[in-house]
């Protein structure tokens, strides 16, 4: 099975451990990932400030056109923000002939063309639907026994089309975590927003959102939050100390990527495959015992 990988800007930096672990998991499960050559930024959630909607769609249409030109495989976009921007463009391209025409006029400026049909997939989608929970469970060498996780999808991971999971009450990642042997705590915030694209610039305003998530996870006795979105990971983890200051709390909650735990459970190396050393709020303590 071959897919395009669209790492996006996040996985190049703040989400580097996501990229490392996605690649490790793909390797373990026999997926071939090819990076789209010369991809560009998707525009992300903040796209509207400096650009128009058509400009943002242009960014994504270019990536789709490149993917089509380079083989037309399904594109895996691990970053939820990239996923949503790209799938939106892909969808609207199919649904709105006028837009499709416009985009092609625009693409022509750079010598590109897109005829539609390239599929944009979230990493959870591919793991759950193309591989399946059973294959994932079969690959587990070191089950995460005793690890209690709060599974946090965030907002953009399954939206807006609900292509592969419920938009309000998703379950794919829960099922994957259970396949790894982890204990999934009930988590009402699983699909609530953490502040997403404006978290960084409106931290005071968004603090209660992220605080709610960290709070419930702590309350439910989770050892860590598991996510599939680099923005959530960043907001909840990197700025956790800042949040504690704003909210007067003392959260100490590791936030890890689903693929990091998979890589570990598949018997991968803590650093090399799971990149768990890159988490600022360390989950090492809990995981050391579990996946020993």
């Amino acid at each position: 099975m071959t897919y395009f990988l669209y790492p996006g800007c996040s996985l190049e930096a703040g989400g580097s451990h996501y990229l490392v672990s996605v690649e490790a998991v793909a390797h373990a499960l026999g997926l071939t990932l090819k990076e789209i050559d010369d991809w560009n930024c998707c525009g992300a959630s903040i796209h509207y400030v400096g650009g128009t909607e058509l400009q943002t769609k242009t960014l994504n249409a270019r990536n789709l056109a490149l993917a089509q030109k380079q083989g037309g495989y399904d594109i895996i976009a691990p970053c939820s923000s990239c996923y949503i921007q790209m799938i939106k463009t892909a969808h609207e391209f199919e649904e709105e002939p006028k837009l499709a025409e416009e985009l092609n006029q625009i693409l022509a400026e750079g010598g590109l063309n897109y005829t539609g049909g390239v599929k944009v997939r979230h990493v959870l989608d591919v793991l759950y639907h193309d591989l399946g929970v059973e294959r994932i469970a079969a690959a587990v060498k070191k089950p995460l026994d005793g690890v209690k996780v709060a599974v946090y999808y965030g907002c953009q991971t399954t939206r807006p089309y609900g292509e592969y999971d419920s938009v309000e009450d998703p379950h794919t990642m829960d099922d994957i975590m259970e396949a790894l042997g982890a204990e999934v705590v009930p988590f009402e915030h699983k699909a609530k927003c953490c502040g997403s694209g404006i978290f960084f610039t409106e931290m005071e305003t968004c603090a209660p959102l992220a605080g709610g998530i960290l709070g419930e996870a702590t309350e439910k006795g989770a050892d860590m939050i598991v996510t599939a979105c680099p923005m959530c990971q960043m907001n909840l983890e990197i700025y956790q100390s800042r949040l504690n200051k704003i909210l007067g709390t003392e959260y100490d909650m590791p936030v890890v990527f689903v693929t990091q735990l998979m890589a570990l459970a598949f018997g991968g190396d803590f650093k090399r495959d799971a990149a768990l050393d890159r988490n600022i709020v360390s989950a090492a303590e809990v995981l050391k015992n579990a996946a020993a």
Partner: protein, 412 residues
């Protein structure tokens, strides 16, 4: 007049179509999926706006059927194939086994003997019934059914043994029959939209969130609570009841059309609550109240009840509160206020999904994008497979479809 008219569906439209054609002198084959006639209206407690029992009219219709030799009835049957052309159809009917024959006197001894229970589909899953059962207290035909799940079990044998009339037939098998017909009326009705699909209402999270069709069974004397409106979580009477309109209807993500009857149904159900529970308060959350024609009088009457209030707001979330209370989040679109309102019983006014959306007619037919069927030359839709609507529209439509069918067979 040699040719039959085949009517699919024994609900209000289908029964009307069958009777009106038969009483005009035509032979009719009536095919019903359930073990009884009456369809969805048989499950209603009362009709709006008269607050009268549906069985009052159904009884007359059943009497007409019983006394009319022109109607041939198949229950527990579905049409699985249609071949031929207008004036000359061969229709395949697949009848499921009832495991009970005509000798049944509905004495109930089989049910007494059987231990296994199944969810009551007549009560929309609200209660459990014995696996040997009378579909409901007014069922026509008035005969028991044995659920296939117990046929090969000890319970099945017990049922057979208990029957004094040799009416239990455990080796009953599906039957396939071909009927010839000149024209077909498709009146397969509707299904309540799956409330769990409107995820933000968390339908499955509390037994005190029910749908409007379930509310009918709660209020019906023959229902799981004997007609008492209670919270299913603890059996207590609710104090603050909410009705959420357009729970899936008028929504491009669910049913993009208006289901037409839900506003009136909720107004009616509000009267059920108020009739039984003098202190209970009712709030109806709505976008537009659609009480067409003389039904407006009913709306006027319900509005006059001080304990029934109306809030223009589509509820955006139902979440659990303390002590099992349900918290409804909404924006009052008149005042602009965002509110959290506590209720202890929430009724979702889910809409009508045409059964032709869920399962297509086995013939070359055209549907609109919601699954409502368009008429063809020899196959005519009737009732809620054509549009969502009230009972009288189904009767009107059934009667109209009957004449269209007659036009095909008349003079042949």
């Amino acid at each position: 007049m040699g040719q039959s008219i085949l009517v699919v569906g024994g609900g209000m439209s289908g029964v009307s179509a069958a009777l009106e054609a038969a009483e005009a002198g035509y032979d009719v084959v009536l095919v019903e999926k359930n073990p009884y006639l009456g369809g969805r209206v048989a499950q209603l407690h009362q009709y709006f706006p008269k607050l009268c029992p549906p069985y009052c009219g159904l009884e007359i219709n059943f009497k007409r059927i019983k006394s009319n030799p022109r109607i041939k009835l198949y229950t527990m049957s579905e049409v699985t194939g249609i071949e031929g052309e207008p004036g000359n159809y061969k229709v395949t009917i697949n009848q499921l086994p009832r495991y009970v024959n005509e000798r049944c006197t509905a004495c109930g001894k089989c049910a007494d003997a059987v231990e296994a229970t199944i969810p009551s589909s007549f009560d929309y899953g609200l209660g459990q019934i014995k696996a040997a059962y009378l579909p409901h207290e007014l069922a026509y035909p008035y005969r028991y059914v044995i659920d296939p799940s117990i046929v090969e079990t000890e319970d099945g044998a017990k049922a057979k043994e208990a029957c004094p009339y040799d009416a239990v037939v455990l080796d009953d098998a599906p039957k396939e029959t071909i009927e010839e017909a000149g024209a077909i009326v498709w009146a397969a009705g509707w299904s309540p939209y799956d409330a769990s699909k409107v995820e933000y209402y968390n339908f499955n999270s509390s037994p005190d969130i029910i749908t409007n069709v379930q509310m009918e069974r709660l209020a019906a004397a023959g229902g799981p609570t004997g007609g008492k409106i209670v919270k299913l979580s603890n059996g207590e009477a609710p104090k603050k009841v909410a009705f959420i309109q357009c729970a899936g209807s008028r929504d491009v993500n669910h049913l993009p059309f208006c289901s037409t009857i839900c506003c009136l149904a909720s107004l009616k159900q509000a009267t059920y609550v108020r009739e039984q529970l003098k202190d209970a308060e009712v709030t109806i959350y709505f976008i537009d109240i659609r009480a067409m024609d003389r039904n407006e009088d009913f709306y006027t009457k319900v509005k006059a009840d001080e304990k029934i209030s109306f809030v223009k707001s589509k509820i955006g979330l139902i979440e659990p509160g303390e002590n099992g209370v349900l918290v409804l989040n909404g924006e009052n679109t008149t005042t602009g206020e965002r509110f959290k309102a506590e209720h202890d019983l929430v009724v979702l006014a889910t809409g009508m999904q045409p059964n032709t959306d869920l399962s297509k007619i086995p013939a070359d037919m055209v549907y609109d994008e919601y699954g409502f069927v368009q008429n063809a030359e020899g196959i005519f839709g009737a009732g809620t497979v054509r549009r969502p609507g009230e009972v009288h529209v189904s009767v009107q439509d059934g009667t109209s479809a009957a004449l269209k069918a007659i036009q095909v067979v008349a003079g042949r």
